[in-house]
């Protein structure tokens, strides 16, 4: 069992990572080629040039993750505890929009929320909103887009952890005169923390590297680090800077996950994922 798994990790994880590490320390250009010169300065340059976009991505991803928790917790709770025999149907309904491509869904929001579109247009005509009001091209739009697109990644682990809760534990709490709030706070919520943990990982990590929402729903000053990596790689052909940025992103995420796991007091991440 170890050998195929190990070989798989080696070929599809270790080798690409080492390749990326090597590229991030190279200098050169696309015409003359890139050579490994141990140019650690690439990392300094990357941070100096793009720390604003980096911190912005961190902020957007954190807020979007918080939003997905707030939205999907009641959703998952309701399906797990009140869904009855239609649970599967509700889950299917939750997932249904996500059968459509990520980009198409985001473009649909661009259409729906257009300044004179089907939502804002009538509201402006009835003078319920000022003419200059707009949703698109703001950080709010980008964050909302990320939260929307990654919602199932939060809702599903939450649902699984809530669904798994032994109902007799809940009944026991009720028998011991815990009111509804206390049952939730002291029993259900604590037992669902593994789901929150997994959901945060599954949402935050891809949200941090997302570039679709910023490019479709964003405006000026909403560029995220994913857009920058794409630009440096595809447009500027600055492979080393793009690789250094990817490495920094990965390091920040790993460090973040590690700290997060320690704070939540879990012994190993595997228990929850």
């Amino acid at each position: 069992m170890v050998l195929p798994g190990g070989a798989w990790l080696f070929v599809f994880f270790l080798v690409p990572i080492l390749f990326l590490a090597s590229v991030s320390l190279q200098t050169g250009n696309i015409f003359d080629g890139f050579r490994l010169t141990w140019h650690f300065r690439n990392y300094v340059d990357a941070v100096q040039l793009y720390h604003v976009q980096f911190l912005r991505s961190l902020r957007y991803a954190s807020i979007a993750t918080a939003v997905t928790i707030v939205v999907s917790y009641p959703l998952a709770y309701w399906i797990a505890f009140r869904g009855g025999r239609h649970k599967t149907t509700f889950l299917f309904l939750l997932l249904l929009p996500f059968f459509v491509s990520f980009v198409i869904r985001t473009l649909a929001w661009q259409f729906i929320l257009a300044d004179d579109g089907i939502v804002l247009g009538p509201l402006k005509r009835w003078h319920l909103l000022p003419q200059s009001f707009h949703v698109l091209a703001t950080s709010t739009a980008v964050i909302a887009g990320i939260a929307y697109n990654f919602l199932p990644f939060m809702a599903l682990p939450l649902y699984v952890s809530l669904e798994r809760i032994d109902r007799s534990v809940v009944e026991a709490a009720q028998d011991l005169y815990a009111n509804k709030l206390e049952v939730f706070r002291r029993v259900i919520f604590l037992l669902s923390i593994p789901g929150v943990f997994a959901g945060v990982l599954l949402t935050f990590v891809p949200a941090m590297g997302d570039y679709v929402n910023a490019s479709i729903l964003g405006g000026t000053k909403t560029t995220m680090i994913g857009n920058i990596i794409q630009l440096e790689y595809l447009t500027n052909f600055h492979y080393p800077i793009a690789a250094a940025l990817s490495f920094i992103l990965m390091a920040v995420l790993l460090l973040g996950i590690f700290v997060y796991a320690r704070v939540l007091g879990t012994r190993s991440i595997e228990e929850y994922v």
Binding site: S22, F31, R35, Q53, A137, T220, L231
Partner: protein, 428 residues
Amino acid sequence: MSNDQRPDFIDPALLRGLTQRRVSRRDVLKGMGAGAGAMGLTAFLAACGVSGTSKSSPPPSGSPSPDVLKKIYGNGTPAGQLNFANWEAYIDVNSKGKSPTLLQFTKETGIKVSYKTVINDNDPFLAKIIPVLQSGGDTGYDLMVITNGGPVERMIKLGFLTPLDHQYLPNFEANASDAVKNPSYDPGNKYSVAWQSGFTIIGYNSKAVKDKPTSFADLLNPKYKGKVGMFGNNQDLPCAALVYLGKDIQTSTPDDWKKAADVLMKQRNDGIPRSYYDQSYLQALENGDTIISQAWSGDLFIAAAPKSYGGDGFPEIKAAIPGEGGILWTDNQCIPLNAKHPVDAIKFMDFVYQPKIAAQLADFIWYVSPVPAAKDIVLNDIDDPLVAKSPLVFPSADDLAKSHKYKVFKDQAEEDEWNSIFQPIYTS
């Protein structure tokens, strides 16, 4: 022989081995544990270098020799197949969804065409094919359409385009407009001939913008705060600002670039642009998200034309050619290196330079036709005065003379410097 008394038939390597301390078996074993890992890793990392290409490929300067061309095109017999990569909505279409031009080409030459609209943007497309070409492979396309102002020049410099044999391009020689012959980005059309050109001008919503824009300065007007669309790329955005400042794009200096960047940065910090767009600018203009925007000429024609006519049906969207002149760019037909059917590709390149075919294309694509003679055919034979009289499809000599061209970079360092000045504006 010098004072060195060693006989010179002794191999230096042997000598070195004899004189240096021999490495014991134990040393080797000791070293292996510590060294092997580190050495292996270092060697591996070094082996990951991305190799360049310009050294191994034919130099881009100078005309390709007849022998080279003969080797590529043989005796000019087509293989009967053409794989064509193009952009969306960039060819004529009949009511059955087929292209009359391609059908006619197949009928006349017997060459079957596999037409794919796989190019959404230059850079992502090139990023896909460059690694294939670097490894000496064939991209699967015999003909592709890419833009000047970076993409074409880069491909020429990388040696990734097949040189053209002009003996197969008689229609091009006879009918191409001066604007696309011998362009600065590909002197002598050694690697490319134009597909269509276009102007970067101003598009506006005449319901919201009452005074017709007359200059790129209108894009800086605080009156339109938050409703202005700008292009987020390293040609359309910087060139407009340079033209606005009255600088010649090609001879401008880094100081001029900084001044232009200051103008754009102030515009951004005042909150005037809504966003920096790619092709999506047109939808923003049609949706009312922007009311005045940098725009590509053919798109404005499509936006304004009625739906029955194949347009988008937004008659309020109008085009304004700024007084400073538009910025003219050209999309080029090129044959990627190692293409399987170069003869078929070059035959098609020339085929579209027949005025009749060019007219048929111009009447559908609505960008600037590379064949001026197509104008009369569109006017009289196709009977479409709307297109024939449009200055955006058949520009006047005056419009062409006043127009500016995308910056041609002399080397990578210049392009990097340009990017480092302008990129922070649209990647804020």
